[in-house]
Symmetry: C2
Subunit: 455 residues, 2 copies
């Protein structure tokens, strides 16, 4: 029996014999009896196994080492000890897989840096049991939210010959023999007959699904070959990119808010033990922060209004806020504090935003929206998309984009164009916010960053 | 209002005014009135919009072209016509986005080859409305099945420095300037400081999660740089790879069977209109085939037993069945017919299977299992994994594998090793089976195959 089932049926199982298998997280043998802190990883809770000299092989059992896998049979009983309601009084404990004494995960506090170096073992420790289960729950919640709301899940292509926004550096994908190349490359000989890269966004392709199914979303990996060694950048990460036809920027914000609240609520409800742990050991007040978000009203203001507020603020800014320019981290922080909650900032200067965003009538701004969340900064960004063929074409030409490669994208504006909107959320940004863990390397099972591609 | 909502509340909405937006799939204007076959893609059903000369702009409306986007207001009423229960009696129809008369998707039958060439528009036609909604539902069903059963969703890394099985040709991932390379490549200068590729499987990494959470699964893209131009090979496809600790080959088969039946049932229940269409136009008997699968008992036989059955069969084989060898398509077909249902074939000759599979005591076979499904052939493959450090190391050495790169994988057998099993299912193989569509290019939104990387 797995432990998730044991704890779910705890009350009816008391007094009954059960059989479990898992790992010794911490073994405290005494002269006459012993305690095993036992887990199979199916839930955050561990089971305490108690045994005593009555067992024929007591002398062998007390030598079982931390990290070993065992199976145990016994009666589940109420526990007298602190920290658990039930425990297993073992009638039999059998060693399945031994573990040497130099096992790196002895029960003590390890630094996250050290655990990163043994990333293949770290999911066994409490912190990563919590983080990666929440990662799984958050992913499930996202699928559930969109499924319930009639969105079609769209698998965007990963290998691509086009560059979504010219936004990010791209990894090249090739089967050419690199050690035999000389000078100019003949891409006709490459696998796809042209130069190909790993996608930086599935949005443009998602728009083709939005104009067919009305409501669609991607949830898949994206890539950036940026040489950024920060706590928030990874070369390979997962993105959620919903895209909706007949939905304007206001409807877009409704979905951004609805999705975020759904995911946070879902995780809080399904990972109570994990959040208690994270609140205690990683970010004090984490649960309160998340509950506050779920119950908060999201403010909607324009970029221009934000700049006015920042300019009027009695603060000595490191970066002077300016109309027509981007805002800095310190501004984001101030604004969420000013409104005491999450803030949608809309209608951004067009020159600092992407080519596909709907141009507003003022000629200066686009119908873009960023969501600023207290304690997280910018968590999502989106926009109404430019639905006018000529305006979009003109903008692409202004930016010297290769229009011929993008004819299909432009054509969406030719064949029954419609108001449509979408947004993107970096999944790991959400997880950093959700778990309180501050380094993206610790919310991805096997992070890829410049110079690092282990396991 | 989106159409999925309209049809869900159809009965209570009759006699009420509603407002919809979507596309004209087929327009049949008459002298005094007109019919619009209207869809917004949120459900397979279309809505018939009827209008007549009472409308002030009747003369403009009759000129609205197929493919245009419109919004319509009117009262939902019972339909007298064939093929629908309700229709919209329009009081207003407004053109949102025009569509030229050379729009490629005029209402007539198009070949799948032609539609592939306009893959960005094909989700608008019935066939691909059905296929891609079922793709979405099947993905959701898979997440739901594993979520309900306590599996942790694991995002395997896509960029990797290791080669899972030596099984498939790999795409190289690089940021080196290809046109400036000369002779031997210095990978220290590449982005990750070593040679990297796109993964062919997330299984090995998933095993690290299985030995931490007991139950885990991947669902993500995988890649093969094979120069195969067949109906079942793509260079980029999605895989599901569950991995379970304390589960042997029999428990593995239980999950394979349970998952498949769950997904098929879920899709049949949630895409009734889509399956009716596919049954009528793509594969006669599709629904019966799928319902039979859900209700069938899966047979379990060994490879040796299968060969004996094949040898005794009164059939002139193109390929002679042999103990110790793989079986051919004709054998797969015979065996599922012989047992009149899905068949798990277990205990395969070790020399034709992967290094990580558990070696049976006979020294000749491994605890591998393939699932053969009537009308689909091999749908999944899995195995119990070799849990013994020394046996696994010896096998890797026999196969001349680079053991130093795989130390972390071997170590899973050193630190509390346990019986564990897993399997893999190509998501597109499942979709070919589910939809009756016979070409993998038509169940992936933007297929990547040798020489093809469009959109």
């Amino acid at each position: 029996m797995f432990l998730d089932e044991v704890f779910a049926k705890e009350k009816e199982l008391i007094g009954k014999e059960i059989h479990v298998h898992g790992w010794i997280r911490n073994h405290r043998p005494q002269k006459e009896f012993g305690f095993i802190d036992f887990s199979d990883g199916t839930c955050f809770k561990h089971l305490q196994i108690v045994y005593d000299k009555e067992l024929a092989d007591f002398e062998q059992i007390i030598a079982y080492k931390n990290g070993s896998s065992v199976e145990a049979t016994g009666v589940l009983q109420k526990s007298e000890g602190k920290g658990q309601d039930v425990e297993l009084k073992a009638s039999k404990i059998t060693l399945l897989g031994d573990c040497p004494i130099d096992y790196p995960l002895q029960p003590k506090r390890h630094s996250n840096e050290f655990l990163r170096s043994i990333a293949y073992l770290r999911p066994r420790v409490n912190l990563f049991q919590a983080v990666f289960r929440i990662r799984s729950l958050a992913a499930l919640a996202i699928h559930e939210y969109f499924g319930k709301n009639g969105f079609v899940y769209f698998h965007a292509p990963l290998i691509t010959a086009s560059d979504c926004e010219g936004a990010g550096e791209m990894f090249q994908v090739t089967t050419l023999p690199l050690d035999k190349l000389k000078g100019e490359v003949d891409y006709k000989k490459d696998f796809f007959g042209k130069k190909t890269s790993l996608t930086v966004s599935g949005q443009l392709q998602a728009e083709t699904f939005a104009t067919a199914f009305s409501k669609t979303y991607t949830f898949g990996p994206t890539f950036r070959a940026e040489n950024s060694n920060t706590k928030v950048h990874a070369s390979e990460f997962w993105m959620i990119e919903p895209e909706m036809a007949f939905v304007d920027i206001n409807g877009n914000m409704d979905v951004m808010e609805g999705m975020l609240k759904y995911v946070v609520s879902y995780c809080l409800e399904h990972a109570k033990d994990e959040f208690k742990f994270l609140d205690q050991f990683v970010e004090k007040g984490l649960i309160e922060k998340l509950e506050k978000l779920v119950n908060s009203k999201f403010t909607r203001v324009t970029h221009e209004e934000v700049i006015t507020i920042l300019k009027q603020a009695d603060v000595k800014w490191e970066f002077t806020p300016e109309y027509g320019e981007d805002i800095a981290k310190e501004h984001e922080k101030y604004i969420t504090e000013y409104f005491d909650g999450p803030v949608f900032i809309t209608d951004w200067p067009k020159d600092i935003k992407a080519f596909y965003m709907k141009q507003n009538d003022d000629g200066k701004t686009v119908a873009a929206v960023d969501l600023e969340v207290p304690g997280a900064g910018e968590l999502m960004g989106g926009s109404e998309r430019e639905a006018d063929y000529n305006k979009l074409l003109k903008r692409m030409q202004e930016l010297n984009m290769d229009v011929s490669e993008m004819e299909w994208y432009l054509n969406l504006r030719k064949y029954g164009t419609c108001v449509h909107s979408g947004f993107g959320m970096g999944f790991e940004r959400l997880l950093i916010y959700l778990t309180g863990v501050d380094n993206i390397r610790d919310v991805i099972p096997y992070p890829r960053t410049p110079g690092n591609c282990d396991f």
